[in-house]
């Protein structure tokens, strides 16, 4: 994994990295699981879980801001919860 521009964790302990390949998400054990496509051709800069339920993924790409509804949720900075045990 190279060229990481941003990183975020979800409530399951998965870690999301903004990379030139797209948004690579790892299981809590460090394995790359999936790779989400960027909104458009180019490199993603920052990323963040946001929204009242933290279930929107926002990304910056060049001079644009995008968001996408996701089935996972981010972690509240003021009330982090203990993630589950990592999968084997």
């Amino acid at each position: 994994m190279s060229g990481v521009q941003g990183v975020m964790e979800d409530s399951a302990g998965q870690v999301f990295f903004a990379t030139p390949l797209g948004i690579q998400f790892c299981e809590a054990n460090g394995r790359v699981a999936g790779i989400l496509n960027p909104p458009e051709y180019g490199n993603i800069g920052g990323l963040a879980f946001a929204g009242k339920n933290l279930n929107w993924l926002y990304v910056a790409e060049g001079g644009k801001l995008f968001r996408r509804s996701v089935k996972v949720a981010g972690v509240a900075v003021d009330a982090p919860t203990k993630p589950p045990k990592p999968p084997l």
């Binding site: 460090g30 790779i35 644009k64």
Partner: protein, 502 residues
Amino acid sequence: MKLLAVVLLLGSVLAHAVDYPLGPDSQPQSGVPKGSVATYELHAGKFYPGTPHTYSIYVPAQYDAAKPTAVMIFLDGAAFLSDKVRVPIVFDNLIAKHDLPPVIGIFINPGTLPAISDQSQNRVERIFEYDSLGDRYSRFLLEELIPAVAKKYNLSNDPNDRALCGLSTGAVGAFMAAWNRPDQFHRVLSFIGTYVAMKGADALPALIRKTEPKPLRIFLQDGKNDHIVPAEPYGTYFAGSWPINNQVMFEALESAGYDAKLEMGDGGHDMEQPASIMPGALRWLWRGYPDAIVVHEPAAMSQPGWDPRGKVYSVVSVDKPWEQIGGSYGFVAGPTGDKDGNVFFSDPMANRIYKADPNGKITLFKDQSKGVRALRVGPDGRLYASQPAFKRVVSYGPDGDEREVAQDVEANDFAITAQSTFYLQTQSTKRSATSTRTGEYARSTTEAKSQCLRGWRSRRTKPCLSSPIGKLDLLGHFKSRRTDRFKTVNRSTGSRCRKQDG
């Protein structure tokens, strides 16, 4: 022994005895309008400096200059124009039958940089162009070849109208161009594709399985005897087995939900079967045109046994794509959300911080923001911002009131924990300047501010599971950078600013 030799010989003969004749769609038919083929040279450009490319253009008899016309690009173009494969004749016949829309064919040959003397070899660029996984070749097609052809003919820009075709390593080139630019190409034909360990194409199946599907339709063909002989049924080649890797490519595409097809014949690494099945392959690739090729969730997703672990569709939905919020800015950086569902982001070029409400409405939050790039909402609800050019970190309240949080910290990015511990990411170029005086690196804030630094520590990047930035280090990024950590405490607690044991 003799018997074995006879059996092996027989097997070898049988393997190559399979007949792949050209059908009527590959023969000139009377009464069918014939397209034209002309040859051109594309002068050296920026992607392959010094290297010209020759190419031919097939223009169907039905071409109408008033209409944007579909286009299909053939890598190793000469092989597809040859009398053996006859793509122009197939095009004539299928277009006349309305099995294909009128298609302009571009038959591009790999580049050759001429040698500077007859004592040196030409630089043959085929493998570099076709077998690399990066986006250089796709950009060459999009920014140099297609514009050159578009000066002569009215080409469609719709990715649904654009197809790619290649053979052997050229099949990798065709696939990669579409894979890298699914916003530009939606259809791929791959013959005897070299998805083996040459320059990384053997890694594609795993990448295909893991990556969110792209709107591509892919036809693959290979032969069971492609680089296989009876004495070496596992493959004769140093880089892997063609038929096995084509099968693995196909299964990866199926698994990810692509519209894909594999025709595995009995031939070897040759164009017998590809030439024979070309009409059928083209029909399959262009079937249903002009219906757009769209992404589907894998068929197995709704069936028993589907394992949701790690799947992209356990994270996103195919019917909930990206949506743009706001317009275009100089640069968008540091998105971070607050409790109410608002998102703050900075435009360092315009020196501004914007706020997007949950409905996507954008308002200016802070002007003259002193080069703010990284932003984070803290556990106290305030918006923290790094001003690396001014070597400080500040925070803003809901109404935009600014407080200085730290001085002499040049943070490109940072994270905050629930305990208000900050993890800073700074450039390694600063390391030598500060490493001998790390004790002074961060100082307390001015008296007017409500917070000060109680302590901090600096460390070289080592694997560290306790912070997001540490995880980056663990995974091999930010190797050349360092993290600094400091903690803010409220001055009202009476704590003094002092170095924290680190």
